[in-house]
Amino acid sequence: MTLLQNFRLFLDGMNWPDWAAYLVAGLVGIIVVLAFVLVLVIVFIWFERRLLGRFQIRLGPNRLGPEGIFQPLATAAKILMKEDIVPAKADKIIHWLAPVIVFVPVLLIFAVVPISQGAILSDLNVGIVYVVAVSAVSAIGIYSAGWASNNKYALIAAFRTVAQMVSYEFPLVLAIIGVVLMAGSLSMTEIVESQTIPYIILQPLGFVIFFLCTIAEMNRSPFDLLEADSEIVAGYHIEYSGMKFAMFYLGEYGHALAYACIVTTLFLSGWKGPFLPPILWFIIKVFLVFGTIVWMRATLPRLRVDQLMGFAWKGLLPMAIINLFIVAAEVLWLPEINLWILVVVNIAAAGILVLLWSRLFTLGGGRVEV
């Protein structure tokens, strides 16, 4: 029973008509989730800029408000005041539609993110399938943005999107299946509840694969080929300004927030934790995940496009399949075993596999004869 259902029952109890209770409860839930997401996104933007500053031996924005916390608001105001420019030969409708297609699925993901016990908009019994399906829609938005801009840089980014998003979806889903097998449910709440030991320890290999795939899915360094600054300038959003650009910007950080939430839910046992209230634990874990992503962004150079593909198909995919078989075997034949034994076995297996793979294959191809 989620908090939202309780609220609806409470309204019913107040002799509200059924449809009104349904509508009001739904609207309240949506507003709460939206507020949560947008506030966290703004904090994320500030957090990333400050953290990047620390990594790059500088301060980062620190003028507006305490520690510069209001800087994202100033940035947002600046972006909104920009002129909205559409290239003369752009496909105007798709150019207008693309930011929406990118941004809306990100918001939809949060419908099934359990922030705390029962604090979930809709506890779908196929929650994780819904997440994968909805988040994949963003790729279409990015592709159409690149295509509709009538710009060659954007077009290259659009081609890269399709290749990258599709390639990394496979290991991503396979890593999720490992979690689902062990939890015995597709519902996000039940996945959290089944984690007596966080899956990051129980399935370290699955976590690494999933984490790398999410970074690729949200187009962040070292997989940020879509907006590779030094190569294709800004990639798919090169021809966007004003509010439309803000939508991409929000979409990007919203995506990061969404995937940080999913990683927390699937592998870091969600809201669970001692002493502190559950919602605080959830937010701490989300920021830890996001901090790691920012750390990678500050540290690593970018992969080349063929190396990126090679990493997905030759590295992550086979390992994800092997990981799936290991987990399936454990669930099938050793259901009653002490979990800590599995922890040791899985960490050892992950170490051996990663070592083996780093010896076995090299990234990417070489020169092409032209």
Partner: protein, 367 residues
Amino acid sequence: MALQTEPFILNVGPQHPSTHGVFRMKVTLDGEVVVDVEPVIGYLHRGIEKMGENRTYTQIIPLTDRLDYLASLTNNLAYVLAVEKLAGIKIPERAEYLRIIMAESMRISSHLMAVGFFLNDLGAMMTPVLYMWREREKLLDLFEMVCGQRLTYNYMRIGGVSHDIPEEFLPAMKKFVTEMPGFLDEYDQLIASNEIVLVRTKGVGVLPKETAIDIGASGPVLRASGVKWDTRKADPYSIYDRFDFDIPIGAAGDNYDRYWVRMQEMRQSLRILEQAMAQLPKGEVIADVPQLLRPPVGEAYGHIEAPKGELGFYLVSDNSIAPYRFHIHPPTLINLTALKDMVVGWKIADLIVTFGSIDVVLGEIDR
């Protein structure tokens, strides 16, 4: 039915984050693969050669600052050496040493920028650059101490240098020289052990030894291809024959070697700095040279090993106060001609990285 595809032309620059100034490349792409590159230069042309013909010999020195603006002091040095050769001027011992100290610190500063932006082109968003800048900033402070400027120094004079170093300069420089090897080790460890850097740079953008010699490349680009040629050793100018240093050379001539050669050259420069500071004599810093120098009729070519390669100044005098002809031989313009050979067949990402590894400065190319 076979899919019909055709290459398309992408305009990289002149407004582009990775063109190190205002450089334009007309790149023909087959998907991601580079089929052809046509460099287009001239967006920063200021006519420095022509301007030089209307100025006195001393007035040209500030113009040379604006060539390779990341290594102004070595430009100064190359120019004053050419003029001194033309007019037959002897310069004081102390000035020679000060020139070496400044030129070698300039080399370190320029290479720090080169390596930093090379990594930036690789996609390591700003972090390496800012760490390199931290060290460069210390050098800029030292330069500021000496001549009051941080970018265009205008420090060298015909017959010496503009003024002596202040008292606090040598201790500060000594501190820098002792600290720097530690930082270089740190950077080396961080960068050379990074798997992504290695797969992105090793074997990419190879410039074979023969091609490098044929096009007349110089500097780190030439040495990375395995040619042991350094003007400081091959044709020692100033007092370079008094110092003990090695010439690091690469083996494969790929992007990684160009990065590696620069890192090693910084270490060698530190060695030269140490020796120069130990030997620094006392005395005058500028010879007695007339304000309006009228060199005898004739011509002279002075060349030095600038951070980016062999920088030369060709001067023709007609015994007037301005040179009759003032020509610059910029190293990066020559090195840039190798770009097409290095990148065809590689991806567009490699094009950017290889271009960054040549380390061009457009002020010098367009002049």
